[in-house]
């Protein structure tokens, strides 16, 4: 692999971020609003809570990690769609860059912006609501790695959908995390779901992460076996998503979809 083209893809989006304040601010703004809103809601709920149970840490921790997933998925699609919006697709895909280098550049870009968002979110939660995450840094890093893999999987699937169906299909891609969110038990244990949904949840890596997040914040043991399952599932899914994207890209080359991407004629 040649890192130069991957860096080009990263740099292309970085230039846009640093030269356009509104793009840079949007990395933080909505997640901060969410943290502030949910922080006060959980603070209020905490007044009814069981002693020793920290609603605020639990819900804000879950929220920050969920935002991490959505930011990576959306960051992935944003970088992919940027070249569609600026009609730059042919220039990009007629270059000597390989599809692996292209995906690597997008992943690096979406991870960088998501890392900024999660760090900023954690700082805001600490400053406003007195949450202190450093004692959990090791398990949180493990959670972040597994969630990153899953979020990149979602990003690749979303981009493959857009590549297959055309630019207007972006409206299928944006809400994918929202569709998954109720099933993976972000804010509640998977056990509250109906049996069929629990079966699906067992196939979703984030459900293991959020169960463990609640365990860690409640002072219980981490279930490393579950994290192993989550990692294995994520690894399988990301390989499948990469295969799907590569197949869709081959289809786009065969049918000419790359060269007439904006025309919605395929």
């Amino acid at each position: 692999m040649n890192f130069s083209p991957a860096y080009a893809i990263f740099l292309r989006y970085w230039y846009l971020l640093v030269s356009t304040p509104q793009r840079f601010v949007q990395i933080f703004i909505w997640s901060t609003f969410d943290i502030v809103l949910w922080g006060f809601v959980t603070k209020y709920l905490g007044t009814f809570g069981i002693s020793g149970f920290n609603f605020t840490a639990l819900l804000l921790g879950s929220l920050i990690f969920w935002q991490f997933i959505t930011r990576i998925q959306q960051g992935f699609i944003m970088v992919f769609l940027e070249d569609s919006w600026t009609r730059n697709f042919i220039n990009i895909f007629a270059s000597p860059m390989t599809i692996v280098e292209y995906l690597s550049g997008i992943v690096a870009s979406s991870l960088a912006t998501s890392a900024m968002a999660i760090i900023f979110g954690a700082v805001v939660a600490s400053l406003l609501f007195g949450l202190w995450f450093p004692p959990f840094v090791v398990p949180f890093l493990v959670f972040a790695v597994i969630l990153s893999l899953f979020a990149i999987t979602l990003g690749m699937i979303s981009s493959a959908i857009v590549l297959r169906l055309g630019p207007t299909a972006e409206w299928f891609a944006w809400p994918i995390p929202a569709v998954i969110q109720p099933i993976v038990g972000v804010f509640y244990p998977v056990s509250v779901l109906p049996a069929w949904a629990q079966t699906i949840a067992k196939l979703m890596p984030p459900s293991y992460i959020f169960e463990n997040l609640r365990a860690v914040l409640a002072g219980r043991e981490i279930l490393w076996g579950d994290l192993g399952i989550a990692f294995a599932l994520s690894a399988v899914y990301i390989a499948c998503a990469a295969f799907l994207f590569a197949r869709t890209y081959s289809w786009a080359l065969r049918t000419g979809a790359i060269s007439r991407f904006g025309s919605e004629s395929f």
Binding site: L11, R12, L16, A94, P96, S250
Partner: protein, 261 residues
Amino acid sequence: MKGRVMSNRIICYHSLMPVLEVKNLTKEYADVKAVSDVSFKVERGEILGLLGPNGAGKTTTINMILGVLEPTSGLVTIAEHDVAKERRIALSKTNFAAVYAQLPSNLTVYQCLRVFGLLYSVPNLAVRIDEVMEEFDLERFSSTKIGVLSSGEQTRVSLAKAMLNAPSLLLLDEPTASLDPSTARDVRERIRGYALAGKGGILWTSHNMHEVVEVCDRVLFLSHGEVLLEGDPKALPAQHEKKDLEELFIAVAREPLSLTE
């Protein structure tokens, strides 16, 4: 005339290895044959004009050469590298500027050239960017976003991007379409100079037949996805009893069968 002689001499000198070889190239969609059994070569130092009316198959052919459209059958080799099998090496030896392939309007000229320089893994990129910006008189626009440039200035940025990796094969789709006559002449001279210096071969499409006669060493007329005519743009009209290349072009567009008889 002097230029032609010079050009021919260089073509002979460099003609051991064509920079582009297209063999029996065909592209079929469900029930349409967009390009049918097209074959041609571009030698180093040569400018080949790819001509034809709208829908003749020029863009489809160019897209297959650029590797963004897979041929149904046939072979495209750039500097002896098969685009299908050695995509990275083949595409690293080519570049293009086309009116339908806009550069990202929200990047500055420098940012855009840096991004594309990295995409093509151009060595000594900073120096090369300075060179192409100077060559296409873009230094004063270095920090200007491409979207706010005039169409002529944007064309110059596209040409600078196309020259970044000093390609063996340069594909230019109507490169002077939005330039004023003075800048267009200047650009034609630079591109011609690039070919004359033996740095690469050029595949040029244009609807401006005067320009084609001035610039191209050889032309290829496509009609309904097939090669209809091929030859010297100065001699070809007379061979088909036409006044000039424009009249020949119109005949190709309106009554192609009359030219094959």
